[in-house]
Point group: C2
Chain length 193, copies 2
Amino acid sequence: MRSAEFDREAVLRAAMNAFMEKGYNKTSMQDLKRATGLHPGSIYCAFENKKGLLLASLEQYNLDRSEELRAIFHEQNGALSGLQAYLDSIVAECISGDPTQSCLSQKAINEIAQTDAQAQAVLSQQCVMWQSFMKDIFMQAEQEGVITGERLPEQRAQSLIVGIYGLRTFSQAQKDASIIASLANQLIHDVCR
Amino acid sequence: MRSAEFDREAVLRAAMNAFMEKGYNKTSMQDLKRATGLHPGSIYCAFENKKGLLLASLEQYNLDRSEELRAIFHEQNGALSGLQAYLDSIVAECISGDPTQSCLSQKAINEIAQTDAQAQAVLSQQCVMWQSFMKDIFMQAEQEGVITGERLPEQRAQSLIVGIYGLRTFSQAQKDASIIASLANQLIHDVCR
DNA sequence: AGCTATCTTGAATAAACATTCAAAATAAAG
DNA sequence: CTTTATTTTGAATGTTTATTCAAGATAGCT
């Protein structure tokens, strides 16, 4: 017997970064070998193939992001200031211009969900989970009395997610920091109205 | 002397469709040969290389979409019903699931703007043109008195574009027609408030 | 220490890739 | 009809690609 040597999470995070920098299709196995430090054979042994590595990276990405999301809202007192902090962090990522601070899920939705049913299924489910988390936040905000109940929490959550997807795309075409920040503020305002 | 045989616009529209179906990086020269009916040599003679063909397709795509945009608003009386018709058409595209009804500019922003400065410049400029057109619509709506002047037309235009980008991404992860339609309605509501 | 199952290694493979080019074809000009 | 400039053609190029595999290394068990 013999146990695997590499740190699975570290490998997946390295692969995530590689995929975010070049996109799935432009990231070659050689890029992934360099990024992860794993030889081709090890990658195929552990993840079946390139798409398997992407799917595993997507799962890890979702775990990491979910953790981060929970942490942001936990650090704040009140749903509204949590929302504010969350959008501030997204604006910071948009403005940074750092590819590794972009959203791997969103990139994958745009690049491969259309042509790969397996990836589509994973990404769809992750999107639903995100919605569910945000719905809970808006329910909490209602209970706190900081927003009135004109819209359903679920709808607010969906509008917020649409806004975040849009913000990330917009910021790549229009890199003006103050515009991005002001659009994020407007988004919070609209979603909490 | 000898003039070119192929119809440039038809070739570019064929290339557009090919790029929309597979994305830029996954679309091979063989795909483009099949789609356009042009032999490799002719493509390289007319467009320099694969990226040149993409950039030319992007220009044509923008021309076609601008025309369509003008037509939609021209067919309606009043800025508001124009906006309604415009979003209806986008919702229809999102719901169709037809790759050739997706947005080539948005796909390109997500797939290559990050890694190619030339594409980034073209896409950025096209986004600004789109904003400018929508700003005029919101100014018209103000003059018609159908919306009050609490927000600047430019901000409304930007929020609308963010919403449309978001809607297109969201609809690929969550293909529920009624949700997309209701998110679009909410978007109009928020942007016109 | 020795055995064995499993992982690591990295060269080898075959397919697919973007691009080039010289020959053949053809439209316009004389 | 002949010439000439330009386009079309499609096979050839050399690179890069994802993937495989047999040999070597090593961890855990007895």
